[in-house]
Structures are given as structure tokens and as C-alpha cells.
Symmetry: C2
Subunit: 68 residues, 2 copies
């Protein structure tokens, strides 16, 4: 099943989990954002954005489509 279909299934099929999944995804945005832009901790502060997206990607995928 492709990720988009799996995401739709997860969010439709178990509606009570949808808010949790979305807010867990928010933690994957808030965490790097705080470390990079507020605390400005290296090497994340100056890492290429693409690298941070690539490292957080599997977490976001699991939060949307995986078992919690």
C-alpha cells in the first residue's frame, strides 16, 4: 500500500488516533525548529534543511502510517 493510501487508512480507519498522529508529527517540526532557530545548537543550526527533512522523514512516516 503506498504511503498516501496507508495514511488515509490510518487516519480514517482509526479516527480516535488522528489527532494524536497529527500532533506527534508537529513534534517533529517543533523539535528541529527550536533546536535550529531558537537554541541555535550546532550542527543542526547550520545543517542543510534537506538533511534535517531526510532525518525526520522516517519519524513522520511512522507517526502517520505506523503502529503507535
Amino acid at each position: 500500500m503506498p504511503d498516501t493510501a496507508r495514511t488515509r487508512f490510518r487516519l480514517d480507519g482509526s479516527r480516535s488516533e488522528a489527532p494524536l498522529r497529527f500532533v506527534l508529527v508537529a513534534t517533529q517540526i517543533a523539535g528541529p525548529a527550536v533546536v535550529r532557530y531558537v537554541l541555535e545548537v550546532e550542527p543542526v543550526a547550520s545543517a542543510p534543511a534537506e538533511q534535517l527533512v531526510a532525518t525526520a522523514g522516517p519519524n513522520v512516516r511512522r507517526y502517520l502510517t505506523g503502529d503507535l
Copy 2:
């Protein structure tokens, strides 16, 4: 290889990655902390701490021991 040994290997064996790995782990603490205690977004704000630890655990393990 147990996780502790794999972590040691990753952090010793590729020293240039160690700071990045540690700060990536920090993103997994900062993200849920901000969402839970600063923004207070439900359902993470009132989720059991154990659940948040369990959901972030695989991310932390990958950041310490996995491929980046």
C-alpha cells in the same frame, strides 16, 4: 549487536557524526516538550509520559544507532 554496543560503535567509529546524533536526539526531547508544556496541544499535553517516550523511542534509537 546490542543497542548500547551499537551506539558506542556509531559514536566512536564515526566521530564527526557524534555531535549531529546527539543534537538530533535533543530534537526528540525538545519537540514533545514544546508541544506538551509550552503550546499545550492536546492530546499530547495530557498523554501519559510513558506513551510519549514509547512513541519517540524508535526515533532516538535510529538517531543513535541507525544510518543518518
